[in-house]
Each structure stands twice: as C-alpha cells, then as structure tokens.
C-alpha cells in the first residue's frame, strides 16, 4: 500500500456535510422537549434591583422560569477562568464572580438574567417579554484605553485590572535601549473581532431520572474539559453521571472551546424539571454573547544597531478581556502572546508587559490564533517600519535578523527545534514576483491606483500545550491528548480521539495516519470523537494542536497495537517477536515468506481458539482483544512559520482597498493531507484579511454593540479575494514522530500584518485595522492637508 502521508485524500466527511446530512445539535430532538429562551441584559452595566417573574410565569405554555437567585439557591457555581496569572508584584490576578445567571449585577449587553422554559420557543419568547427586571443603570466602562482610568466595575478590582503580567528581563532590555543606535516605535490597535462560526451555539440538556444520568448536547470543541468544568466547578452533575456530546459542530475558531452560561443553565434546568431543555442561539445572541477575540492596544519599541541588527524589544500591551474572565481569557494574552512577540528573529533581550482589563463588553477569549496573531501583528508591523526607517530592503532586513541555527533558545521562553526561514522567504519572493513589483506599481499608477506590497514572516507556537514548558512560565497545567485504537474482530478499526473535528477534516487526516501505520484501508477506519461516553478523556481541538498532540497519541497507540500484534504473530508463525517485521499491514518473519495480515491477527486476538497446530494464538501473559490506548503530553511546542506577501491596490478617490495578489509559503513540517491543509490556509488567510480590511466589533459609548448583525459587521466574502498563491517548504518538527507542526491558525496569524504593511506601503502613511475605505480615504486626505500646510 502506498504511503497515505502526503496524499490528497478527499474528505471522508464531505458526503454528509455537502448533502445536508450533518447532524448538528439543533438537529437533535427529543419527545417532551421544552424550549429555553434567555432574558438578557439590555444594559452594559446595571444593578439588578429585582426580577419579577409573576406575570411571565402565568403566560401560556410556560413550564419554568429560573433566575440568578434560583441558581444561587441550588449552589450552582460560577464560570471559571482556567489559568491563574501572577502579576509582576507577585500578587494573584483578580477576577469577579461569573454566575451563569446574574443575580446582583449585569455587566455587558447580552449578559444572562433569567431563562424562560416553555412548551414552544414562541411561548418562551412571549413570556420573556413579560419578565420584569428592575435595573439601576450605571455608567459603563467600554474602551480598552480608558478602562484603567475609569470607575471600578467590581468591588476590590482597582483600575479594572485583572493582572499586570511581565515576561523577560526588564533591566537588560532597558540597557539594550540605552545603548541602541536607533530606536523604532509603533502604536497599534488590534481590533476586536466576533468569531461568527457558521453554526450558532446550541445546547440541549437531557436528564434521565431513572439512571440519574444527565446528558448535555452542545456545540463544543472540547467535550471532556467541558464536562470536567461543569462538574467540578459549576456542580451541575458528578462526572460519572454526566455525559457531554459535541456532535457535528459547524466551526468554532476558539469560541466553542469552553462551556458557556447557556450550557450550565440548560443542563441544570433539564435536571430540575426532568425534561429535555433545548436552546439554540439566534444570530444576534451569537454576536452579543459568543466570546469575542483580540482587542489589544500596544506600544512597542525596537532597539537597533545602525547596520540593522536588532538588539532589543520592549512591548507594552493592554488587553481587554471584557466583563468576565472566560476560561482561556487569561492565557491568551499571556502565555500564548508574550513569548511570541520575538517573532522568528534573533533578539537577544526583550521585555513584554501585559495589563488585562475588565470592561462592560462581551468576554474576550481565544479566537483563531489566540495571542499569536496579536504578537505577530505587533512584531511584523514594527519590523517593516524599522526596515523603512533604516532605508533597508524589507526582505534583506528580515534575513539579517532571522534565527538561522536550530535548535534556538529564545530569550523569553521558546526553544525552537527546527526551521528554515530564508527558504520560505525566498520561495515567497519568487512566487510573488517581488523583483517586478515596481513595474506593477507603475502599471497601477497609470490607472490612477496606488499599489503597495507588504510582508509577514511569522512564527507560531502550536501543539498546545507541553506541560513542562508552560509550567516553567507559571501555568498550573498543560494540555495533553489521548487516543484509543480499537480493532474489531473482523479487522476494521474504530479510532477514538480526544481531539474534536468541527471543520478540520480529522475523519480523513487521522484515518490516513492509522492507515499508514497499520496498513488498514481508509474505508475500514472510523474516527470517533465528541462524546465523553465513548472515548478516553481528551483535551479537544484548538491551538493547532490536534495533529501534533492528538496525532502523536494515535501513533503511539498504533505502535502498541503493532507490539502486541508482533507477539501474537510470532506465536502463530512459530517465530520470536523480535524476528517479526511489520509492514503495510502484514507481520512477516524476517527472511521468509511466512506472514499474517493484521486482520488475521485481530481476529485471532478476539477469538483465540485452535489455529491448526496452535492451541491458542495468544502467548502466555497476553490478554485477548486488540485495543490500545495512549496518552501523550508533548515534549515541546511545534513552531510552524512562513512568509506571506500581500499586494493591494488602493483607489485614492474612494479609499477602497483591494487585495490583488496574495502569496503564502508555509512550513508546517510534514503535511499529511495537502488538500485539507490548503483549505485551512485559505480559511485562515481570509479571516486574517477580514480582520485587516473589514471586520470590527464596535461598541458605542453606552456599551451597546452597534455591529450586532451582518448588516453592520462586515464578514469577508469570496469576491473580496484574488486566487491565492500557495506553496510549502518543510523542516519536520523534531518534537513529534510525525514531524507535523500545525496549520489551522497560520493564515489568521500571518495575514493581518501582510495586508496592513501593504496598505501602509501603498498610501505611505500609518493606518489601523480594519483599513476601511473611509479610513484609508481619511488618511490620504490628512496627508494631503499636512503637505499643503507644510
């Protein structure tokens, strides 16, 4: 059998998705099902004086209305921040309580106040209109930049400051700057985004009063961790009586890694009323209450020698984490951001300070790239600015500062195992025809257009998260992964993974790995995930971790299967286990034609009776069955890197900016399925260009989200893009047996600085994201009036 690794296998899962046969949470229905509708805060910040449900309770079809008080009475715990961050002064971060239904105060528009459960959704909505909440409206804290100067939202959290985190050697960094021959500074805003997964969130609670088992069906990237959190911290149900199922999920981008208030409430309510309770978010609810992404303000400085060698970096960031600290909210702007500010450059000293602030806006959590896009945007904008100020070619300046020996211990955290940054830069320069850019620029000029080119040479740390590495910088725990390979007696294979596929194509990629390792045909391999009752505990899918961590667990479980198979084959073939080779699905005695297929071995393991002369195929001490489990805690992060080059054309009459060419050359190490990887690159890049040119979550001064629908929140669309030029270079990761590095977030990380660097190059003045037509036009007008004034 030819190797499956590197093969463009068509996605096994596409048939069901493309023919409308996917089974999403909203597609699941039960007899006696009831419908939940949430009463949400219309105010950004208010005290709850009272919640009067008397009129609503009498409304037609109402079964139950539950409030924050009921929740407190039942001792249901609050939603948690998963990682504790310690501030520079040694004090622990401060977080406010986050009850799934608010009791005393509401802290963002969309915050949950009560849930109405009725026989139909329309009845629940009718009754929700009758729930009378008496609010005392308070002045909202909305802006990231003003948060620390504003009135404290929570008692005991001065300056609305969650933590003041520092990474690096501040003294050494200051010294580098005092000796610097040149200092380049930049001020940046990393705009707030709304994830907009195609499938809105949904949850169904289903309680079985006979077995006392509770099942939660939910749109989630991480069902085991969701069960653990809801069980251990919210006290919804004990883990052994609690099943969490994440069926087909239509996209997550990070926004579905963790349990939400609705999950806790629906599960709790189902148990309380002993009837299935179903909630499906409307799109407006997604805009208001899905965790948002990004939202940083950063001031960064680069210390340089005159010859262009970088000697130091200082970064100060304010990260808006919204009204509450969501599960991954504290790790995103710290462990996933600060170590990455160095990019792929050899920077000898650095210091990064991150202040996380609370505001009366939706919680901010991980969103495709989580921290790494923010870091990359900062360093790649700064690098490009420095090259221009030094009068150096941007490619040459990068090469001068690239890390070029591996492994490389960076001055902050990461030990980068492998890479060849000049290789992908050179390939991208060639593919983008960089040398003829000036010619294209004058062609654009002849049409009255301004053309610009921008670079982004990025690195990311994926395969989160090796316990040893993250614990060395203060994290309480890392994130491993599990896999189970279960041969069935007839020779086909069920593969259980703790990762979760919600668009990534695991059914195909993971099956390719198993097929390659065990020599079983793809159609005889089934991947099973997303159900805590089926596979072993796992950590879910995010942080480009599934292949590097989950894939490795699969490889390890396959190796155990092969080891056991060799023992059994040896007995059946009357040889010693060390004399058995395993190749392409066959156990062969060395230097002979004696062999058994893995299917025959599986059958023999499950039905270990008489086999010819052999009484039992199982050697002494070998148990029947062929099923192996492996847990894998990675030894290091993996470090995908690449070069993206963007060209834009700006119409100076309207400010309209179009991406005219886009080149992406990525080093993802080993690529298992190039077709799926290409899809991931496309998706990431369009999300990145979306952030750079179109998307922006905007709150007005009172804290109302003014971009709460597709009428106002601009999603990128296919006709916004040219055809992308995509290529790969490869330096396999040394930290996992597959040599894979991860690809899911690369585009969203690389694209924003590539696009904005191109726009800045075109208009020759600074611009912030999203570079909307009006903003670009404004910048050009200001430049013109400044010139006229001078």
């Amino acid at each position: 059998m030819a190797s499956m690794i590197g093969s463009k296998v068509e996605r096994k899962e596409d048939k069901k998705f493309l023919t409308g046969k996917g089974r999403y949470t909203a597609d699941i229905n039960f007899a006696n099902q009831t419908y939940a509708y949430f009463v949400r805060s219309p105010h950004a910040r208010a005290q709850i004086k009272s919640v009067d449900i008397s009129k609503a309770s009498k409304s037609k079809g109402v079964i139950k209305i539950l409030t924050g008080e009921d929740l407190a009475n039942d001792k249901i715990g609050g939603l948690i921040a998963g990682w504790k961050i310690v501030s520079q002064d040694g004090k622990d971060m401060k977080v406010p309580p986050h009850p799934p239904l608010a009791k005393d105060s509401v802290n963002y528009v969309g915050d949950h106040v009560a849930v109405v459960i009725a026989e139909t959704l329309e009845q629940a909505k009718d009754a929700a209109d009758l729930v009378n909440v008496n609010y005392k409206i308070l002045k909202a804290v909305v802006n990231t930049s003003d948060a620390m100067k504003s009135e404290a939202i929570y008692e005991g959290i001065d300056q609305n400051l969650c933590f003041d985190f520092g990474l690096g050697d501040k003294g050494k960094a200051e010294e580098a700057f005092s000796k610097a021959e040149k200092v380049v500074s930049i001020d940046l805003v990393n705009n707030r985004l709304i994830p907009n997964a195609m499938e809105p969130r949904a949850s169904i609670g289903d309680y079985n009063p006979s077995s006392e088992e509770l099942t939660l069906y939910t749109t989630n990237q991480n069902p085991h961790l969701t069960r653990l959190v809801l069980s251990a911290f919210n006290g919804i149900a004990p883990e052994h009586k609690f099943r969490v199922v994440a069926p087909d999920v239509g996209g997550g981008f990070g926004s579905k890694i963790y349990p939400y208030a609705e999950d806790a409430v629906v599960a709790w309510a189902a148990k309380k009323i002993e009837k299935p309770v179903k909630w499906v978010a409307e799109r407006t609810e997604s805009f208001l209450s899905d965790c948002h992404g990004r939202d940083h303000i950063t001031h960064a400085q680069l210390a340089l020698q005159k010859d262009g060698k970088i000697t130091g970096l200082k970064v100060e960031t304010i990260a808006n984490i919204g009204a509450y600290a969501s599960l991954f909210a504290t790790v995103t702007p710290t462990y996933l951001y600060a170590p990455l500010v160095l990019g792929l450059y050899n920077i000898p000293v650095a210091f990064c300070n991150v202040k996380a602030v609370f505001t009366n806006t939706a919680p901010v959590d991980a969103y495709r790239g989580a921290g790494r896009p923010e870091a990359t945007y900062m360093i790649e904008r700064l690098i490009e600015k420095a090259a221009k100020e030094l009068g150096m070619d941007r490619a040459e300046f990068r090469v001068k500062n690239f890390i070029n020996k591996f492994p490389h211990q960076q001055c902050l955290v990461h030990n980068i195992d492998s890479g060849d940054y000049s290789a992908h830069l050179n390939k991208a320069l060639e593919l983008s025809d960089y040398k003829n850019f000036e010619k294209r620029k004058s062609e654009s000029a002849s049409k009255g257009k301004l053309r610009g080119i921008g670079f982004s040479t990025y690195i990311e740390a994926c395969g989160i998260a090796p316990s040893a590495v993250v614990m060395s910088i203060g994290a309480g725990v890392g994130l491993w992964e599990s896999a189970e390979i279960r041969f069935n007696a007839t020779g086909n294979v069920s593969v259980f993974t703790g990762a979760h596929s919600h668009g990534q194509g695991h059914d195909t990629t993971f099956a390719q790995i198993v097929s390659d390792k065990l020599g079983v045909a793809l159609e005889n391999i089934e991947l099973i995930h997303g159900d805590t009752d089926k596979g072993p505990f796992g950590m879910g899918t995010y942080g480009s971790r599934s292949l590097a961590v989950g894939g490795t667990a699969i490889v390890k479980a396959c190796d155990k299967i092969i080891d056991k198979g060799k023992k059994v084959a040896a007995k059946m073939l009357e040889a010693k286990p060390e004399e058995i080779d395993f190749k392409s699905g066959e156990f062969v005695v060395k230097n002979s034609n004696k062999k058994k297929t893995i299917g025959e071995i599986a059958f023999a393991c499950y039905l270990p009776g008489q086999y010819g002369e052999i009484k039992s195929p199982l050697p002494e001490g070998v148990e029947p069955g062929l099923k192996e489990t492996a847990f894998y805690d990675p030894i290091n992060f993996s470090f995908p890197a690449g070069t993206h080059i963007c060209e834009v054309e700006v119409d100076p009459n309207t400010g309209e900016t179009k991406v005219v060419t886009y080149t992406a050359v990525d080093d993802f190490g080993t690529v298992i399925n190039p077709m799926i990887v290409e899809g991931q690159v496309h998706g990431g890049v369009v999300q990145g260009i979306g952030q750079a040119l179109y998307e922006n979550a905007h709150y007005d001064k009172s804290g109302q989200l003014t971009t709460a629908s597709y009428m106002d929140y601009a999603m990128p669309r296919a006709d916004n893009f040219p055809e992308f030029k995509i290529a790969y270079t490869s330096t396999p990761a040394t930290s996992n047996p597959l040599g894979v590095k991860g690809c899911g977030e690369a585009g969203a990380i690389a694209a924003p600085p590539a696009v904005i660097n191109a726009v800045v190059d075109a208009i020759n003045t600074e611009i912030s994201m999203p570079a909307t037509s009006e903003k670009v036009w404004d910048a050009l007008q200001n430049k013109k009036s400044n010139r006229e004034a001078a």
Binding site: E122, T654, Y694, T706, T707, Y710, A714, M715, S773, E774
Partner: protein
C-alpha cells in the same frame, strides 16, 4: 414570530379586498419575513400576491419601460428589453443583494419598503418613473416620503413601475462591505431636456441632488463637477461612513456615472 393567516390572492381585486391596516402584502418577502421573524413586525394576515399574473412582466412601449410589481430582480437583470432600453437598470438589478435575493426579491417590494439604502428608489427618481397602483398613478417625485415611508395608503397595491427611457444613464453604487446595500448610490440619467441625479444611501431616504443636476444640465461632463463641493448637512453619519465621506462619495460616484453613461 407571531401567528398570522396566510392567503394566496388570485387577482388584484381579491388581494385588495383582503387588505387592511393589520395586513401585509407578501411578494418576495425579503424584508417582511425577516421583520416578522425578528418580532419587529406582526400582521394578522399575509396576502401573497406572487400568483397574480397581472403583476408581473416587462414591456417597452414607445419611450417607456414598464415593469410589473412582482417582477424579480433576476428577471429585470436578465431581460433583453431592459438591457436594450435602459441598460443601467439591468445592471442595477444585477447588483442587488445576492443570487438568492435577486431570485426572490421584487421591484414593487423594494420601492414599497423604501429602505434608505435601496437601489430601485434611486432608479425611480432618476428615470421619472410613474408608480401605478391599484387605485391611481403616482409620480415618483411624490411617492417617496421619508425613511421607510411612501405615499401608499393602507391596502393600496403597487401594480407596475413605468420608467422613462433616457438618452443615456448610469448607476454607480458604493456598497457597504457588511450589508452590500449602498453606502451611497448615484443614478445619473440624461434626457433630452434635463439631467436627473438621484442619490440613495446618503440621507434618510432617496433624493435628487439639484446642485449636481444644475451643473450637468449645462455641461454634461465629468470635469464640470471638479470645482463642486457638496454640503454635508442632512447627510447620514454612522459607523460605516461620516457625512463628509458620504458627500465626497456622492460627487465621486456622480463623476464616475457621468463618465460611464451609455
């Protein structure tokens, strides 16, 4: 969504007889249905008029082009008669929403709704359209009354829109990247004795820009507008565009429309 009764009217008489202040006519349903679903609107009855044959079709006679109220955008966009008589109207229809919207949405629905950013109202004003209803003929200059407001009375049904065929015309839209509705849309139509310039997206409802019309009537050229500065008073300002930017776009798009007029 509140419950309602649904009727399919066979003819105009039956439709108007069912109508009252609590009912709504249903053609493409591109605005009415989402409004009902979002609980922004509630009606006792929806009267579906899509099956009424008299309300659909495209016909050129002499100097006018008449389009039935329930004619879909896609049909206007692909019509040879429209392309031949008023090509700019064909491309306007081709630029509304997306393929799904163009295959459901109707011209009558668009103008009856009078969305401040809709395209067809600009066509009506620029092309001196007459709106034929179940009870009368309304000149378009008297039809559009305010944001989402028209001269239509309760139960009055649009039957057709009759456009005057200009010498040349062009519609240029600068779409909102989110909704793809016009941030500003400018329709320039040159007739023998006058030039009409209708603007959508820039104020609370569609209007004719007399400052530009005056200049173009004397000298129909792009460069004639070079020294004009439009006032920003009354122009919309929102998160998508300031009044200054909109004023600039009106002028820029008007120039582009004049340059591309056919």
């Amino acid at each position: 969504m509140k419950n309602f009764s649904y009727h399919t009217a066979k003819n105009i008489k039956e439709a108007t007889k069912l109508a009252s202040s609590k009912t709504a006519y249903l053609a493409g349903g591109m605005t009415t249905l989402p409004a009902i679903k979002l609980r922004m609107a509630a009606y006792s009855d929806l009267i579906d008029i899509k099956k009424i044959k008299d309300l659909t079709g495209i016909k050129v006679s002499g100097k006018t082009l008449k389009i039935g109220a329930t004619t879909k955008h896609a049909d206007v966009a692909s019509s040879k008669e429209v392309k031949k008589s008023i090509a700019s109207l064909s491309s306007l229809a081709d630029g509304i929403g997306d393929p799904q919207v163009r295959n459901r949405g109707t011209i009558g629905g668009s103008i009856a709704n009078n969305d401040p950013s809709a395209d067809y109202p600009a066509a009506c004003l620029a092309l001196n359209a007459n709106i034929h209803t179940s009870s009368r003929k309304i000149e378009s200059s008297k039809f559009f009354k305010g944001m989402f407001e028209t001269a239509l009375k309760s139960g009055e049904l649009i039957q057709s829109v009759e456009f005057q065929i200009p010498e040349k015309s062009c519609y240029v839209k600068f779409p909102n990247p989110a909704s793809r509705y016009a941030i500003v849309g400018v329709y320039v139509a040159k007739f023998k004795s006058e030039v009409n310039v209708a603007v959508t997206g820039a104020k609370s409802y569609v209007f004719r820009c007399e400052e530009i019309e005056k200049i173009l009537s004397k000298n129909f050229s792009e460069s004639s507008l070079n020294s004009l500065n439009l006032k920003t008073s009354g122009l919309n300002a929102d998160i998508h565009a300031s009044a200054d930017y909109r004023a600039h776009l009106i002028l820029t798009l008007a120039k582009k429309a004049v340059a591309s007029c056919k």
